[in-house]
Symmetry: C2
Subunit: 135 residues, 2 copies
DNA sequence: GTAAAAGTTGACGTTAACGTAAAGGGGACG
DNA sequence: CGTCCCCTTTACGTTAACGTCAACTTTTAC
């Protein structure tokens, strides 16, 4: 497994996750990932890879990088105070509700789409065999 | 119901769907909707409203306007030939598979997120009552 | 009849999310 | 020692999806 290695270079990351160096640097600039430095060179840890996976997943769902950054903050939970933790939990619950709503809506969209396809299928079938059994 | 009226002006559309005139004109320019003209003015039909709903829905799922336009084409199915219809159906099936994959992945994301929240909940609980029953 | 409201067409501005090109450091190799 | 190769920073370019503003016509209200 690629992920079992502790650290990776930028090029290894790019090949593993199909992104460009520019994209990784951009994500670092936006504080979505935090590669460590060996001199000047970036080295990506397991944590960065986990974050990158979540970033790419979030993008597929249509989240902006800023929204994703806020979601990643919820995953972090560093040395927060009790009240902060509770606040984090509350926000997380809202995000969760958002995601579940989105899943439901996606379900509706899929059902609608299937209906259209069924209708289309009938059109094709009826047009394919206009005659019953003649000839 | 708003949608029961046959045609609507641009302003009515904007209020009904919470978009700006610019957005509707932009969608027309991109051939996503086709308002009819009364002189110079645009009038939006039931068909445009149905399309707009799909556009806004698609956007929430992270589709680009170009992807949405192609999806809308699948909904249209005008005066196509038999072979074209079949091709349309095939493409539709791929799109459907894409959407179902996205739904599954969203499900995974939700489960992962819930796990994190459960863990967070435990941290909060254990930190709230560090003592058993003393005092 | 005229003034406000609503609509139109350009055309330039803006933001997000990178792409791309220039200029240069550092170490491995023949 | 020179020359790749990989990496770096800096900086300008690009595309999508509109926002915004100017200049004008048309309709509606009084």
């Amino acid at each position: 497994m690629i992920d079992s290695d502790e650290i990776m270079t930028i090029r290894q990351m790019c090949e593993a996750y199909d992104v460009t160096p520019r994209t990784l640097r951009f994500y670092e600039a936006k504080e979505l990932i935090f590669p460590v430095r060996e001199g000047q060179k970036r080295l990506f840890t397991k944590r960065d890879r986990a974050r990158l996976k979540l970033i790419l997943r979030g993008k597929r769902f249509g989240f902006s990088l800023e929204e994703i950054r806020q979601l990643l903050e919820l995953y972090h939970v560093g040395d927060q105070q009790q009240t902060q933790l509770q606040a984090t939990y509350d926000v997380a619950q809202e995000r969760l509700a958002d995601m579940e709503r989105q899943r439901e809506e996606l379900g509706e969209a899929i059902e609608d789409f299937k209906e259209q396809m069924d209708w289309l299928h009938k059109v094709i079938a009826s047009q394919a065999e206009p005659r019953d059994a003649a000839e």
